[in-house]
């Protein structure tokens, strides 16, 4: 047993890399669900953004154009979700399911038609990808890092060497907290998810508030997806989101729809994912071999335990999932 192995720098580094897309998607869901729109379509929006970001990046050679295209695609699906669940008062869960399937299918069909490589985009390199940013004086070669002392290891591997999206993410949690709890917009957003009737009485358009929330959700999902294909990996492959949208949803419930707790929950799930790809480290830490499948299942098991109310009760926004019918 070597419990310190749990804090292996490589695993912590992986936690940040894998936690960031979960965090972005989780905050996306937070805006939407706090406004009373359930969104199980996070997965699909991430997927379509990942595809279009990679496709446009490869074609134009500019990752920034790719990012914009990915975010736009995600926002379009968000607007479709809004149309179904706000304007036409349809079932929000069914709409989310449809969006997930649509993204799952159309990305492969379009990738095949566009690049003819069996539903993937060609590998991205150079300006078509978010390069990792090296801090001054940071070691880059794995051999050098292995030999360095602890502060240098932390500096070189954990802090340095991430893409710009990861560093922007450091600011995003306080920003979300601030908009949600310290601005008029945030107050109205939360109110519209709890009691839309009261918001309407105050003369504020419930529809407009909910559409704004849904669009913000699309932007954040788009960032998450674009990061997957142009930052974390170099190109799009089919189903590359691999259930991250659902894990983000699980993290959202785990965090009870609050931003700082969302950071904690997504980093926890990111940590589990990072550990799952390094079973050797887990074995060193607890002294016995653990099936990687156990780690694969763990985020979902934890979520069910939270949902069951054993770790405090997770109460969703009161008006969540219900369409608002304006009184006449």
């Amino acid at each position: 047993m070597d419990l310190l192995a749990f804090f292996d720098i490589a695993v912590l580094d992986g936690t940040v890399r894998l936690g960031v897309p979960l965090l972005l998607a989780c905050l996306a869901g937070l805006y939407s669900e706090r406004a009373g729109i359930f969104d199980i379509g996070l997965e699909g929006k991430m997927l379509i953004a990942a595809f279009l970001a990679a496709g446009v990046s490869f074609t134009t050679g500019s990752v920034w154009l790719g990012l914009i295209a990915g975010v736009m695609a995600s926002v379009l699906l968000s607007l479709l979700h809004g149309l179904a669940s706000i304007t036409f008062r349809g079932n929000q869960l069914i709409s989310g399911v449809a969006i997930n399937f649509f993204a799952s299918g159309i990305t492969v069909v379009a990738a095949q038609a566009w690049f003819g490589e069996g539903g993937r985009t060609p590998s991205l390199s150079g300006a078509a990808r978010f390069e990792s940013i090296q801090f001054p004086g940071a070691l880059t070669r794995i051999r050098d890092i292995a030999k360095a002392d602890l502060p240098m290891k932390v500096y070189s591997e954990l802090l340095s060497g991430h893409t710009i999206i990861v560093y922007l993410c450091i600011l995003i949690v306080p920003f979300v907290w601030w908009t949600l709890y310290r601005t008029r917009f945030g107050l109205r957003l939360r109110a519209v998810g709890e009691n839309p009737g009261a918001v309407d009485t105050a003369g504020i358009s419930v529809y407009r508030m909910r559409y704004s929330a849904v669009i913000i959700c699309g932007v954040l999902c788009g960032l998450a997806g674009a990061y997957l294909s142009t930052g974390l990996q170099a190109g799009f492959v089919r189903e590359m989101t691999a259930g991250r949208g659902y894990i983000a949803l699980a993290a959202l419930i785990f965090a009870k729809w609050r931003p700082w707790q969302a950071l904690g929950a997504t980093m926890l799930f990111g940590y589990l994912q990072a550990l799952a790809i390094r079973p050797d480290i887990l074995e060193r830490a607890i002294g016995i071999r653990v099936q990687t499948q156990v780690l694969d299942a763990l985020p979902y098991v934890l979520t069910v335990i939270v949902l069951a109310g054993f770790v405090g009760k997770a109460i969703p926004p009161r008006a969540g999932g219900e369409a608002y019918v304006k009184e006449r």
Binding site: F88, F102, D296, V301
Partner: protein, 364 residues
């Protein structure tokens, strides 16, 4: 007030939704550089062109009948069971364990034993989400999704370890010869119809049809079905009438999980005759589209399942002939769910307005 006649609700609205889904699908096919009419021709020929193709179509349809009925039974109690996929995986595990470890002397006994095991395992996988919904108010949609994601690692573990056959592939050994279900050509041959034996359709189709009758009788002809529908319409009214929510949620979800699990009679016992890792192939999710399209009625589900069987088998031909990926079927499936489910009001409201306008004219 009757806004529009019953036939418009049951036939006109779903058909219009389908037409919208078909138009968008045609635009997608056009956009990737193919002729939608040609594509449709290839799909229909690939699905219905000869009796071997029909056999594949019916095989897929059998899967979708089970998963569609599973979604529908839960839906009548206003439970949205997205967990059909996971329940079908675990049902497959049940069927495989029953067939591997019990030496059934004849296929009829194996069918009963394996079928019951599949249903029990599928129901068990639905039981925890159902209990959490009934007793702790945890949202069934989220918990069933979580259970889908738990089923896969579980099978991945078992098929790579305890119940793995020799060799590289993550799969169980094949079931004994005596347990193999008769295929459709043998069944039809017995009544003097010749049918290709090159397809996978098998005795499970008959079980699926019986399941349709069972669900129809359950929902519309029993006290339990009445209570379920009452609960689905209005939980508060049902409570006043003395209907216990816990009982309805548990029973409807257990039946739902059992039906999803029984899909294993078709894909595990009837076709593969062993358990492989990706045995369900998304059929659990297609069940959602099938149930929505079939308006949660067994007759509608039967029709929708056959339609999706045609789509699924035709989609395979499409990918072989035009190199349009099979995922095109997923796109169509998504559009069907979108238009018949989420955007139902978009289709329904204009039609209702039309009927109200014409109705008024007729009354004057």
């Amino acid at each position: 007030m009757q806004k529009m006649p019953n036939w418009a609700d049951v036939v006109l609205v779903p058909v219009l939704s389908l037409v919208l889904a078909a138009i968008i699908s045609a635009i997608v096919i056009l956009a990737i550089g193919h002729n939608p009419i040609d594509a449709l021709g290839i799909m229909v020929k690939g699905a219905l062109g000869n009796s071997a193709n029909v056999s594949y179509t019916l095989y897929y349809a059998t899967n979708f009948i089970f998963t569609g009925l599973a979604v529908a039974v839960a839906y009548h109690a206003r439970m949205f069971n997205i967990g059909g996929e996971g329940q079908a995986y675990i049902g497959g595990l049940g069927a495989a364990l029953a067939c591997l470890y019990i030496p059934w002397p004849h296929w009829t006994l194996a069918l009963i034993g394996g079928g019951v095991a599949a249903a029990v395992f599928g129901a068990a996988w639905a039981a925890i989400p159902a209990y959490l919904q009934a007793k702790r108010g945890s949202h069934i949609v989220i918990t069933t999704i979580m259970f889908n994601y738990m089923a896969y690692p579980l099978l991945n573990f078992l098929l790579n370890g305890p119940i793995k056959a020799g060799g590289m592939e993550p799969a169980t050994p094949s079931f004994a010869e005596t347990m193999h279900l008769p295929n459709l050509s043998a069944i039809l041959g017995a009544v003097g119809i010749s049918f290709s034996d090159r397809g996978p359709a098998n005795f499970a189709l008959i079980i699926a049809l019986l399941a349709c009758v069972f669900v129809w009788a359950l929902i519309w002809k029993t006290k339990l079905g009445y209570e379920t529908r009452a609960f689905g319409q209005s939980e508060t009214a049902a409570k006043y009438a003395g209907i216990k929510p816990t009982k309805i949620i548990m029973i409807s979800m257990l039946i739902s999980g059992g039906l999803a699990g029984m899909m294993a009679i078709n894909n595990v016992m009837g076709e593969a005759e062993r358990l492989v890792l990706n045995a369900v192939e998304g059929a659990g999710f297609i069940g959602i589209a099938v149930a929505l399209m079939g308006r949660n009625h067994p007759v509608g589900i039967l029709i929708a399942a056959i339609l999706f069987g045609i789509l699924y088998q035709g989609g395979a031909e499409l990918s072989a002939e035009l190199r349009i990926p099979r995922e095109m079927v997923t796109v169509i499936q998504a559009l069907v769910i979108l238009f018949t489910g989420a955007l139902d009001n978009m289709v329904r409201m204009p039609i209702e307005k039309l009927f109200v306008a014409f109705g008024r004219k007729g009354a004057n």
